[in-house]
C-alpha cells in the first residue's frame, strides 16, 4: 500500500532568508552598575522576607491560642496566620530566585543542534541482529545453524501458562471483593406488611391525623434506628420515603393502586430513579419533587411521573394504610426495586438465587 506523503519543502518560502536570532537588548543591570547593585539588594530583600515568613508561621503555630479547638473563628485565624507565614516563606524564595535569574543571570540565548529521534541505520541493524541472535539462542525462532531447533511446544505452553497464571491471583482477589455477590438484595427494602412509618431522623411514629394537607415528611421505617450503624446505612440507602398529603381532589390515582394511599396521603421512594440521589426537595404548590443532583422532577399528584430531567421512570410508590392505633403503616414492600436502573432490574429473584449458589 502506498502511503500518500505530503512533506512540504523545508524552506517553503524560497527567497526569504532567515534573519537569525533577534538582536540582544541589554538589560539595565547589564550596563548600569548601580542597577546591578540594586537588583542584588532586591533579591536579598526577598530572601530576607522569606525568613520573616518562616518566623511568622512558627510564631503563629506556637503562640496563637487554639483554645479547645471548637471555635471555627479561632481555627480560621490560626489557619490564616500560619498560611500567610508559609506564603511569605515560600514565595520570598521563589520571587527572589526568579528576580535573580531575570536581572542578573545570563540572558543571551544559546543555540544547540537537535538530532533526529530515529536511530542510525547501523544501530537499527545491530539491534535487529541482537534480537535475532537471542531468539535463535532461546530456540524461539528457528535458526539456519546446525542444531538450531524451533521449540514451538515451549512457546505455546509458555504463552498459555502466562496467560492463565494471573487468574490464580485475580480470581480470589476479585471474588472476595464483592462480598456475597447477592445482587438481588437491590429488590428488597426494610418495608413490609405492617411496618410503621417513622420520621427521619428521630424515628417518631406518624399518625395520619398529624399529617396536614400540603405537608411533607421525610420517612424511615420503624426500627431502622435500632440497627447498628452499617446495617442502618445500607437499609436507609434504599428505604427512605417521602410522605405527602394532598387535597384528595388534586390526586390522580394510578390504576391498580386505588388502595395504596389514604385520604390524599401518598408515600414515594426518595431514591431517584436516575442515579440514586435523595429526591429531597418538595414544592408544595406544584406537588413537584425535585432531585437537587440532576434536577429530575416528579409529579407527586400524578403517580410521581417524570415531568422534567434525566430520570425516565416514576418513583416507586409505597403502599400505605392506617393501623388500629391510627399510625401510618406500609401494606407491603415496594413492588419494584428502588433507585437507579440496572441490567437485570426486571428479572425476578431467580438470578439472585443463582448468584447465592455461586458464592458458596
Amino acid at each position: 500500500m502506498s502511503t500518500p506523503e505530503n512533506t512540504p519543502d523545508d524552506a517553503p518560502q524560497e527567497g526569504f532568508v532567515d534573519p537569525g536570532l533577534a538582536h540582544h537588548r541589554p538589560r539595565r543591570a547589564d550596563v548600569d552598575p548601580k542597577a546591578d547593585k540594586r537588583a542584588e539588594r532586591q533579591v536579598a530583600a526577598l530572601f530576607g522576607l522569606s525568613a520573616v515568613g518562616t518566623v511568622i508561621a512558627l510564631w503563629a503555630y506556637f503562640t496563637k491560642d487554639t483554645g479547645d479547638g471548637g471555635d471555627v473563628a479561632t481555627i480560621q485565624s490560626v489557619n490564616m496566620w500560619i498560611g500567610i507565614g508559609v506564603f511569605l516563606a515560600m514565595s520570598g524564595i521563589g520571587f527572589g530566585a526568579i528576580h535573580w535569574a531575570k536581572t542578573l543571570m545570563r540572558d543571551h540565548e544559546m543555540v544547540e543542534e537537535r538530532h533526529e529521534m530515529r536511530s542510525s541505520d547501523e544501530n537499527r541493524a545491530a539491534a535487529i541482529q541482537n534480537l535475532k541472535d537471542g531468539a535463535e539462542d532461546s530456540g524461539l525462532a528457528g535458526g539456519e545453524g546446525e542444531g538450531a531447533k524451533r521449540r514451538s511446544v515451549l512457546k505455546g505452553s509458555l504463552i498459555t501458562a502466562m496467560a492463565i497464571a494471573p487468574l490464580a491471583i485475580l480470581v480470589p482477589q476479585i471474588g472476595n471483593m464483592g462480598g456475597d455477590w447477592n445482587v438481588s438484595k437491590f429488590r428488597h427494602t426494610m418495608w413490609g406488611p405492617g411496618v410503621r412509618l417513622a420520621r427521619d431522623p428521630d424515628g417518631a411514629l406518624i399518625k395520619a391525623a398529624d399529617v396536614t394537607v400540603g405537608s411533607a415528611y421525610h420517612v424511615i421505617p420503624e426500627g431502622l434506628n435500632d440497627l447498628d450503624h452499617h446495617h442502618k446505612m445500607d437499609a436507609k440507602a434504599k428505604a427512605v420515603v417521602l410522605l405527602v398529603r394532598l387535597d384528595p381532589s388534586d390526586l390522580k390515582i394510578v390504576p391498580g393502586r386505588e388502595d395504596w394511599s389514604f385520604d390524599g396521603i401518598v408515600a414515594y421512594s426518595k431514591i431517584c430513579t436516575h442515579v440514586g440521589c435523595p429526591v429531597a426537595l418538595y414544592e408544595q404548590q406544584t406537588h413537584h419533587l425535585l432531585c437537587p443532583c440532576h434536577q429530575s422532577t416528579f409529579d407527586v399528584s400524578d403517580g410521581a411521573k417524570v415531568v422534567f430531567g434525566p430520570a425516565k421512570r416514576p418513583l416507586p410508590q409505597l403502599p400505605i394504610a392506617i393501623d388500629d392505633e391510627g399510625y401510618i403503616v406500609a401494606k407491603n414492600d415496594f413492588d419494584e426495586p428502588v433507585g437507579p436502573s440496572y441490567w437485570e432490574r426486571l428479572k425476578g429473584d431467580s438470578s439472585g438465587a443463582e448468584a447465592e449458589e455461586e458464592s458458596h
Partner: protein, 575 residues
C-alpha cells in the same frame, strides 16, 4: 574558606562519580538549553502542584483514619457532639479542629488538587493549539493525556475520603452510573463497594487507591513525561534563527534552575495564601454521610462538573420517546450510559487520538520542533475552540442550579437552552474561530506586503489623502512568511495503468477527505515574488511608498514652517 568548600565539593563529586559515573549525566544536563516562553510554565504548575499534593498528603495521612467504623463524636467541635459518624469523618474533623495547622494543610491539599487539574488542562490546551503534539511527541501527548485521566482519578478518590454528605452523594451517583452498565453493572457495583452501597469497605479501598495506586502511577508517568521532554528537547516558538533542527534557549543551570526552581516556591506560596484565606470543603458544615439528606446547590469539584453536567443535560424522555429501554426483560439506560459513559469515552478518545488524526490529514512525516502560531492552522484551532465550548457547556450545565440562581433564570429553560446549545454552539465556535484565523492570516499578508500603518496622514498636492506605511523589519517579515503552507493530500489514482483497482485506495480516499477538511480553505503565505513586487512597485511597495510619502511629508512640513515664520516675521516688522 572558599577553597575549603571547593575542595570538599570536589571530593564529594569525585566520590560519587567514581561509583556512579554521574559526570556524564551532569555534562549532559547542566547546560541543556530550554526555550523561554510564559506558556511553557503551565506544565510546571501541574508538576509543582503535584509535589505540593505529595508533601501535604504525607502530612494528612498522619491524622486521617481510613475507616468506616462508627463512633459517636465527642471532639472539640461542639455542634456535632453525639452525632454518629465514621472514623474517616471524625478524623477529618480532628485534623481540622484539633491539629494546629491541620486545617491549613487540608486546604492546601484541596486547593492544589484543583490547581493540579486546572494546570494540566491548560497545559494540554497550549500543547494542542501550538501543535506541540506533532512528531516526534505523539507518544508524550498520550502520556500526558493518561496523566490527566489519572489526575481525575486522584481528585475524585480524594474528594470521597472524608465521608461527608457531599462526597457520599458523589459516590452514590458513581454507583448509579456503574449499575447502568449492561451485564456487569450490578456486579461491578458489588465489587467496588464490597456488597450493597454504601457498605463498609469503600473508604479503606478508596484510600489505598488515593495514596498508593494512583500517585504511584502518576509519579511513574511524570518521570516518563519529563524523560521524553529531555529526549526530544523542548519545542520553541517560531522566529528568526529558530528551526526544526535546532533549539534556542537558556541553559538549565543556572538560569532554569533558578527560574523553574524558584517558580515551585511561588506556586507553593500562592497555594498556601489561597488556603490561608479561602475556605474550601468545610465538611463540618455538611455533616457525615447519610443517604437521606442532600442540599440544593450540590456540586462536585470543578473537574467532575462536566460529567455531572452531561448527566443533567440528557433528558429521560426525548420527544416522547423513553431513553431507558426494556429489551427482552433487560434494562438499558441510555439516559445514563450516553452522558456518563459514551460521551466522555468519545470525548477523551478523540483527544487522545487527535495527533494521529491530524497526521493523517497532513501526511507530513517530518519532525516538528518549531511551534505553530494557532492562526496558521485554522481548522485545528477551530476544532480546539469547539472542543472547549463543548466542555464549557457541560461544566455550566453541571452548575446550572447555581447559574440559574445567580442570573435569576429558570432552571428548566437553562437546561433546555444547553440541550440545544451543545449541538449548535460548538460548530458555530468552530466556524467563527476558523474565520478569525483566516482573517489574521490575511492581516499578516497585508502587513508583509504593505507595512505597518504609521498614523501619519499626508495630503498630496492633488488633494488626495494617504496614510504613510512603514515597512516591517526582517524579524517581523520572517515570522509571517515562514510557516508550512499545508495543502490537501494528493493521492494516487484508483486504477493503475492496467486498470486494476489498487488496494488501500479507499483508506487513502478517506484520508484525502479529512485532509481537504483541514487544508482546502487556506490563506497562502506571501511568496517571494509577491514580496519583491510589493517592494519595487513604485507606488505601493512598502519601502518605496513609505520613503516617498515620508519625504513628501517632511517637505510639506518644512514648507509650512517656512510660511509660518514668514508670516510671523511680517507681523513683527509691522509692529
Amino acid at each position: 574558606m572558599g577553597t575549603k568548600v571547593n575542595s570538599a565539593a570536589a571530593g564529594t563529586a569525585n566520590y560519587v562519580d567514581e561509583r556512579t559515573s554521574i559526570g556524564g549525566f551532569v555534562k549532559f544536563f547542566a547546560r541543556k538549553l530550554f526555550p523561554d516562553h510564559w506558556s511553557f510554565m503551565l506544565g510546571e504548575i501541574a508538576l509543582y502542584s503535584f509535589i505540593i499534593l505529595l508533601i501535604s498528603g504525607v502530612f494528612l495521612t498522619a491524622f486521617f483514619v481510613p475507616s468506616m467504623e462508627t463512633v459517636h463524636y465527642d471532639g472539640a467541635f461542639a455542634t456535632m457532639h453525639g452525632v454518629e459518624m465514621t472514623k474517616a469523618f471524625e478524623s477529618t474533623l480532628y485534623t481540622s479542629f484539633e491539629v494546629p495547622g491541620g486545617l491549613l494543610i487540608r486546604q492546601i491539599h484541596h486547593w492544589s488538587a484543583l490547581l493540579f487539574l486546572a494546570a494540566i488542562m491548560t497545559h494540554m490546551c497550549r500543547v494542542f493549539f501550538t501543535g506541540a503534539f506533532r512528531k516526534p511527541r505523539e507518544l508524550n501527548w498520550l502520556v500526558g493525556f493518561t496523566l490527566m485521566i489519572l489526575g481525575l482519578a486522584a481528585g475524585f478518590t480524594g474528594y470521597s475520603l472524608p465521608d461527608d454528605v457531599l462526597s457520599g452523594n458523589g459516590l452514590r451517583i458513581v454507583d448509579g452510573v456503574i449499575k447502568s452498565i449492561p451485564l456487569i453493572g450490578s456486579y461491578t457495583s458489588y465489587w467496588m463497594f464490597g456488597g450493597e452501597f454504601p457498605g463498609t469497605a469503600l473508604i479503606p479501598r478508596v484510600f489505598t487507591a488515593h495514596v498508593l495506586l494512583v500517585p504511584a502511577l502518576i509519579l511513574a508517568l511524570v518521570g516518563l513525561h519529563l524523560f521524553l521532554v529531555f529526549l526530544h528537547k523542548h519545542t520553541q516558538y517560531p522566529g528568526g534563527g529558530k528551526t526544526h533542527k535546532n533549539v534556542v534557549g537558556l541553559p538549565l543551570f543556572p538560569v532554569y534552575t533558578a527560574k523553574a526552581g524558584g517558580f515551585f516556591f511561588v506556586v507553593f506560596g500562592i497555594v498556601a495564601l489561597m488556603a490561608a484565606v479561602f475556605t474550601i470543603n468545610p465538611v463540618w458544615n455538611y455533616g457525615p454521610y447519610d443517604p437521606s439528606p442532600v442540599s440544593a446547590g450540590t456540586q462536585p469539584d470543578w473537574y467532575i462538573l462536566f460529567v455531572d453536567g452531561a448527566l443533567r443535560l440528557m433528558p429521560g424522555w426525548l420527544f416522547g420517546l423513553p431513553m431507558e429501554w426494556e429489551l427482552w426483560g433487560y434494562t438499558l439506560s441510555w439516559n445514563i450510559l450516553i452522558p456518563a459513559v459514551i460521551v466522555p469515552g468519545l470525548f477523551f478518545g478523540f483527544i487522545a487520538l487527535y495527533p494521529w488524526i491530524e497526521a493523517w490529514a497532513t501526511g507530513d512525516k517530518g519532525e516538528k520542533h518549531v511551534l505553530d502560531r494557532p492562526r496558521n492552522v485554522p481548522v485545528r484551532t477551530g476544532i480546539g475552540v469547539a472542543t472547549i465550548v463543548f466542555y464549557v457547556i457541560l461544566v455550566l450545565e453541571g452548575s446550572n442550579d447555581i447559574v440559574a440562581n445567580m442570573f435569576h433564570l429558570s432552571l428548566n429553560d437553562l437546561t433546555i437552552f444547553f440541550q440545544w446549545a451543545i449541538f449548535i454552539l460548538p460548530p458555530i465556535a468552530f466556524w467563527i474561530t476558523k474565520r478569525i484565523c483566516l482573517g489574521l492570516q490575511r492581516k499578516d499578508r497585508e502587513l508583509v506586503l504593505h507595512g505597518h500603518e504609521s498614523g501619519t496622514i499626508v495630503r498630496h498636492e492633488n488633494g488626495e489623502y494617504i496614510e504613510v506605511h512603514t515597512p516591517l523589519d526582517e524579524q517581523e517579515v520572517w515570522l509571517r512568511v515562514n510557516y508550512d503552507n499545508r495543502k490537501p493530500l494528493e493521492i494516487e489514482p484508483e486504477f493503475n495503468e492496467l486498470g486494476v483497482r489498487r488496494p488501500g485506495y479507499k483508506w487513502d480516499r478517506r484520508k484525502q477527505k479529512l485532509s481537504r477538511f483541514f487544508y482546502e480553505e487556506r490563506v497562502e503565505p506571501v511568496s517571494w515574488e509577491e514580496y519583491q513586487e510589493a517592494l519595487h512597485h513604485h507606488d505601493h511597495g512598502p519601502s518605496a511608498e513609505g520613503k516617498a510619502e515620508g519625504a513628501e511629508a517632511d517637505e510639506a512640513d518644512a514648507r509650512l514652517t517656512e510660511e509660518w515664520e514668514k508670516v510671523e516675521d511680517e507681523q513683527a516688522s509691522e509692529k
